[in-house]
Amino acid sequence: MNPSLSYSLLFVAAALFSIGLAVVITKRHAVVVLMGIELMLNAVNLNLVAFSQYDPSRLQGQVFSLFVMIVAAAEAAVALALIIQVYRHVKTVVLDELTDLKQ
């Protein structure tokens, strides 16, 4: 496959990862942070698939990306449950307003 194409894929992945990272760091809403994390994981998937071009067996990276997707789904399920639970208590999921632990 064309090497320049996979280079561009790397740049896209890196950009996606950085956007996800920036979202996690700057946003204070729990759901938005979760979305940022998902972006990071998708960047990883893109990378894995792109790199599997050079893998003689071709499959490892793609299989790994399947694992990542499945685990991300499981994580999201747990995360949403937790967010709802917190919301029931304090009617907010903005992280800066959750200060009970700081005491």
Partner: protein
């Protein structure tokens, strides 16, 4: 070394734990909860025995996905033992109307599967899956006290931080895969050896390596990636804090040890400075912040950070000596930590905080976990006092206890590499550690308090005594353990 390849049904502990976890879920349908605790303990004992069936041999399982050797078996033994102790301290769950012990026990057993994968992984897929199984289980258990806002808040924070760390870890794995074309540890190790000799750019490899390490350091709460730890440990129910600070840490360090010694030992010169800096930071932040805590439980959170620092010393001085050192240290640390939390839970249960002080419903379930709660404990409860005192001595690394030999062994590993300055930092911080560990001893033995005699269930008592005896026995005869490796 020749590996014999067997097929999947031989990897007994993982399979047994998964099956028994499911079995526990079914047991949960029964009305009576009395059976759950003994059943869980029985499953753990069976897994413990099954784990050591392969003693003395080295096998690769699941088409070179997992390695089982003596070291892995010892680490697995340590996490199973820790879990056994934590579970046996959980008797009060059965009386709690809102708790779902069947689910908790099942999740604990499932999470152990993840821990075992982290201990023996040969392929980075296994590392990732292991880390996630363990972490997701921990997110749930942290938030298991649903009435308590602190517990929920801790779980949410833990999740966000943990998932963030996973993202970094995964990106590192992806870059390593791009650089080396392999997820297999030995394949990455071969690349590191040959590429350093061949020269040329290894940027992708190094970036990947550091991201992977950062992800793992997050999980073992090494500074500067530790900031989630105090809140999470403080907010989680004490039982699961004990589990987190022992099993998760042991598995995390086993994983770090494996990847550093197999894959990255060829580029030791490249990462040791960074790891040494992390170590020093972890020791400084963990110990010094622990001094300022008023809550015992929060102190234990910082103490677990500082112990991550001591374990990191063993990694910085990476050598053959590091393996038994980290295994022994994990064991010593786990025994004392669980015993300390065991006493804390008893003390705290007897001292519910007055809700009126805080004035809102959400704090109803809070109990007093401050140092003051221990005042005068040893007068009326000499056994609890003694158990706690030995735990604190062991955590502080005083001779006669297992903790001393743990420190001795990790220090020896670092001394071989000539990192004496690191040891000086470490012992200075140990002296600081004495300060906060002994606050509890002082409160228990020398201060006056109105503690009543605390009723301790017989089995609970046996576990506490066993942990103490084991700590002292390993302190007097460390070769008991050394003979195993």
């Amino acid at each position: 070394m020749t590996f014999q390849t067997y097929d999947c049904l031989q990897m007994l502990p993982i399979i047994l734990l998964s099956l028994s976890g499911i079995a526990l879920l079914f047991l949960g349908f029964q009305k009576s909860r009395a059976l759950l605790l003994p059943a869980t303990l029985l499953f753990l004992v069976i897994a413990f025995v099954a784990n050591f069936l392969d003693w003395g041999k080295t096998y690769m399982y699941f088409r070179d996905m997992l390695l089982v050797n003596n070291l892995a078996m010892i680490f697995t033994g340590v996490v199973l033992l820790s879990t056994f102790m934590v579970v046996s301290l959980s008797g009060s769950l059965a009386d709690d109307e809102d708790a779902q012990p069947a689910e908790y026990y099942a999740i604990l057993l499932f999470s152990l599967v993840g821990a075992i994968m982290m201990i023996g992984f040969e392929n980075l897929i296994m590392l990732f899956v292991g880390v996630e199984i363990l972490s997701v289980a921990m997110y749930i258990l942290t938030g298991s006290d649903k009435r308590n806002l602190r517990s929920n808040e801790a779980a949410l924070k833990y999740f966000l931080m943990g998932a963030f760390a996973t993202g970094i870890l995964l990106f590192g794995i992806a870059l390593l895969y791009g650089a080396t074309g392999s997820f297999v540890l030995s394949g990455i190790g071969n690349y590191a050896h040959s590429a350093t000799n061949a020269g040329g750019s290894m940027l992708l490899f190094y970036v990947g390596m550091f991201m992977l390490l950062i992800g793992m350091l997050f999980k073992v709460s090494a500074a500067p990636f530790h900031f989630w730890t105090p809140d999470v440990y403080d907010g989680a129910p004490s039982l699961f804090t004990a589990y987190m600070s022992t099993v998760v840490k042991t598995a995390g360090f086993a994983a770090l040890l494996r990847i550093l010694s197999v894959s990255f030992s060829g580029v030791y010169d490249f990462w040791w400075v960074a790891m040494a800096v992390v170590t020093v930071l972890t020791l400084l932040i963990g110990n010094i912040t622990a001094v300022y805590q008023a809550s015992f439980k929060r102190m234990m959170a910082y103490s677990s950070i500082s112990h991550a620092g001591y374990l990191l010393i063993g990694l910085v001085g990476l050598s053959q000596a590091s393996k038994p050192a980290i295994a022994f240290y994990s064991l010593a640390y786990s025994l004392s930590t669980i015993a300390a939390f065991g006493v804390l839970m008893l003390v705290a249960r007897n001292r519910p905080l007055n809700a009126a002080v805080f004035g809102d419903q959400t704090t109803l379930a809070r109990t007093d976990e401050h140092y003051d709660a221990f005042n005068g404990l040893a007068r009326k409860n000499p056994l609890l006092g003694f158990v706690m005192a030995v735990s604190m001595l062991s955590l502080a690394g005083i001779p006669l206890t297992a903790g001393f030999w743990g420190k001795f062994m990790v220090f020896s590993a670092a001394a071989d590499r000539g990192a004496v300055w690191l040891l000086v930092v470490a012992v200075l911080m140990s002296a600081v550690g004495i300060y906060y560990y002994f606050r509890v001893v002082i409160a228990m033995y020398f201060r006056e308090g109105q503690t009543d005699t605390i009723r301790v269930a017989p089995f609970y008592r046996i576990v506490l005594i066993a942990a103490t005896v084991l700590t002292l026995a390993l302190g007097l005869l460390p070769n008991l353990f050394q003979g195993l490796i």
